[in-house]
């Protein structure tokens, strides 16, 4: 058994399928997707796209955090605060600085939802919002809410951001730099990202269909999720309930193209291989893969090929949960970390919704129904623009 294990002792989440961990699990077990036409953002494309949107307005989210009306929180910060607060509560932490506690958050869009409303048109009233633009602002607000004064950082590696935040947290604990780290990611929907993905022509006009031969692209989503990682020593001293462990992690760069993944999934293959090595596991030890599976033609083919490079024709059970939540960008790695832990806790695999036909080049068929099975190890992939590929492996014991 590897020394200096990294235990997961708390989780928090807000996504389009639920505002708590329990609600997310309920939706996953009942195949209730959160994909629908957009409500909170007035965009020209609202009739052409479907998204995984958190239905609460900013005012409602702010109210649940007891913020005054004059606040300068971006949607990213609001979602992040709610999920991080849940995670700390879930881990039964009373005194945050009883141990050396850090915060590592991930975001790609940051405060862009505020900036795009006032850009080139700031006035005396809105000028206070300008300092909410940069990516660390949401992290600072979460740190302030949780009372974290020690190590605080923010990662932005596009759609693999949160996986890298979880990875750094684990490494800081393993190396003895910190005892406890709150890790995860948050991204609110914004016109900026909707239009950006639209220009890449990878947005589906209907419910996305990961790993399907006829997939048309992704649904964007918004969400936040955080995990509490604690060292063995903290777990022992505080007699903590452990939800699962982070057993392995790997990070690699595809070094192929600024946005597209390589044909043979090189970066993905390297990230998965490294994670297995760190976890000291053989590929066949993995019981279930929560795939990145965005449902873009390029990702699913490339990821599938990478999985096949490791497994040949003996691919483990796998599914993408993006058809539930949409692609939540920088938060995705944390959302799917929560789902991986839920899978381990409940010995259940979540369905890859909307799948009909296997991709001919792959002949890979995902899990399409809620499926019970004893699970010990779950592997979760997150890949992003810029070739940033990351893999996490979670274990029950």
């Amino acid at each position: 058994m590897p020394k200096n294990r990294v235990a997961i002792t708390g989780m928090g989440i807000i996504s389009s399928i639920g505002t708590t961990v329990e609600a997310n699990l309920h939706a996953l077990l009942n195949s209730q997707k959160g994909i629908a036409p957009i409500v909170n953002i007035n965009t020209r494309h609202k009739n052409e796209i479907k998204v995984g949107e958190v239905l609460q307005t900013n005012a409602e989210l702010a109210k649940s955090l007891h913020l005054n009306e004059n606040h300068n929180y971006s949607r990213t910060a609001l979602l992040g605060c709610i999920a991080a607060q849940q995670a700390v509560k879930h881990a039964n932490i009373d005194t945050i600085d009883a141990f050396r506690t850090g915060l590592i958050s991930a975001t790609s869009v940051g405060g862009m939802d505020l900036t795009e409303k006032h850009f080139q048109n700031y006035n005396a009233e809105s000028l206070k919002l300008i300092n909410s633009h940069h990516a660390a602002d949401s992290t600072e607000k979460i740190a302030a809410l949780l009372g974290i004064t020690d190590f605080t950082s923010t990662i932005s590696t596009a759609c693999s951001s949160a996986a890298n935040a979880i990875m750094l947290g684990a490494r800081l604990i393993k190396s003895g730099q910190l005892d406890r780290v709150i890790v995860g990611g948050t991204d609110g929907l914004a016109k900026f990202t909707i239009n950006g993905f639209k220009t890449l022509m990878i947005l589906s006009d209907t419910d996305c269909t990961p790993f399907d031969a006829n997939r048309k692209g992704l649904n964007l989503g918004e969400a936040a999720a955080y995990l509490v990682l604690e060292s063995d020593a903290v777990v022992k001293q505080d007699n903590k309930t452990v939800l699962g462990y982070l057993a392995g992690y790997g990070n690699a760069n595809d070094a192929f193209h600024q946005t597209a993944s390589s044909e043979n999934g090189e970066g993905a293959f390297l990230a998965m291989s490294k994670a297995l090595k760190v976890a000291e596991l053989n590929p066949e030890d993995i019981n279930y893969i929560n795939a990145h599976g965005t449902a873009t033609p390029n990702n699913d083919l490339s990821e599938g090929k990478a999985i096949k490079r490791i497994y040949g024709d003996s691919v483990p059970d796998f599914s993408s949960t993006k058809a539930f939540t949409g692609h939540t960008l920088a938060a995705a790695g944390a959302i799917e970390a929560v789902y991986s832990i839920l899978a381990l806790q409940n010995d259940v695999m979540f369905p890859n919704l909307n799948f009909k036909t296997a991709i001919p080049e792959l002949s890979m068929v995902p899990i399409t129904e809620v499926t019970k099975k004893p699970l010990n190890y779950v592997l979760s992939n997150s890949f992003g623009f810029g070739g940033n590929c990351s893999t996490l492996i979670f274990s029950k014991n």
Binding site: I130, T154, I155
Partner: protein
């Protein structure tokens, strides 16, 4: 964590720093609110077909990164770790303008693709075909320090033998004007200009022929006050078996605003009898300006000499072994960095 070694230090800034033949001689002083970077001929670093889509920050970053590898005589590092506070603001602004001007119609992807924070790190990886560990930190004024800390950790874990770390930030054209406007409204605003730059460093696990300084330790923390800062610094030094007596110079990220009192607290107490230095009057304030301070400290150790333009007092030392850097922005994103001779 074990110390790691610095084998090259490259700066593209508002001063003539890319040319390694001089160390802050003939510096420029700034009248206005902006300190724009002095740009090299990027064609020497980037092919025209690749550079046609790149904004200022990406070009600065790639050029500085390539030069850092060249000076360290390293072809491909095991990892590339980048920090940026504001990200690729030029392309973000371009895409925002396109959305607003055309009411979400006829938008093209290039500026969106290049607007993501990891563009510089990704483009370096792509240029070098480097498939190793690759992360981008966006922790405001501690973005560069986050990258350095991760780099030191990778070398400590034996996950890498060599790491390229750096920080880049560009001024952009629009948002900066409103940022300055908001800052001017402060009671005691920042008095240095706002700047931009790219700084890259090649680090290694073991001491090499090219090694000229070492990173002994780095600490990032989110909160400190004038009451706690002395204890924080003492604890940090203690973690590295040092006391304030062992420090030969302190490099401070002073920018003239009200939070300078944190630096002053250290100037008037623990570090009152050693050389005290500042640098943001030379490079301007920006989220990764502290990388200019890091470059400065590494060069002081290399040359055993402090340029006049950096000095806040007249105290001299015969030997510069341990140099401490302290930076923060608006009372947040604090960092201590400890460099030592090797």
């Amino acid at each position: 964590m074990k110390p790691c070694y610095i084998n090259s230090a490259v700066s593209i800034s508002a001063q003539d720093t890319l040319d390694n033949s001089n160390f802050l001689e003939n510096t420029i002083s700034f009248e206005g609110q902006l300190a724009k970077a002095i740009h090299p001929n990027y064609k020497l670093f980037i092919s025209p077909i690749a550079s046609r889509r790149m904004a200022t920050g990406v070009k600065m970053g790639i050029a500085a990164a390539k030069k850092a590898l060249e000076l360290a005589e390293l072809e491909t590092p095991d990892a590339i770790i980048t920090g940026t506070g504001i990200g690729c603001i030029e392309d973000s602004e371009k895409f925002l303008n396109a959305i607003l001007d055309n009411d979400e119609e006829f938008l093209t992807p290039t500026s969106f693709i290049q607007s993501t924070h990891n563009t510089v790190g990704a483009q370096i990886a792509l240029t070098l075909k480097c498939k190793g560990y690759n992360v981008t930190y966006v922790q405001g004024a501690a973005s560069f320090e986050s990258a350095v800390l991760d780099g030191q950790l990778l070398l400590h874990e034996n996950e890498a033998k060599t790491v390229l770390v750096g920080g880049t930030d560009e001024l952009g054209k629009y948002l900066i004007n409103d940022i300055i406007l908001a800052e001017t409204a402060e009671k005691q605003p920042i008095t240095t200009p706002f700047g931009e730059g790219a700084h890259f460093f090649s680090l290694s696990q073991s001491k090499q022929n090219k090694s000229f300084a070492a990173i002994k330790g780095i600490k990032i923390f989110n909160k400190a006050t004038t009451e706690t800062i002395n204890i924080k610094v003492e604890d940090f030094l203690k973690d590295h078996d040092l006391t304030t007596e062992d420090i030969d110079a302190i490099v401070l990220g002073k920018n003239g605003d009200t939070f300078d009192e944190l630096y002053q607290t250290l100037q008037y107490s623990s570090f009152k009898s050693i050389p005290q230095l500042h640098y943001k009057h030379l490079c301007g304030e920006f989220f990764t300006a502290s990388a200019f301070g890091f470059w400065t400290a590494a060069n002081i150790i290399k040359h055993q000499y402090i340029p006049e333009v950096l000095k806040l007092n007249t105290i001299k030392k015969s030997n510069y072994k341990n140099i401490l850097l302290y930076n923060q922005l608006k009372g947040q994103q604090h960092s201590f960095t400890l460099l030592t001779s090797c």
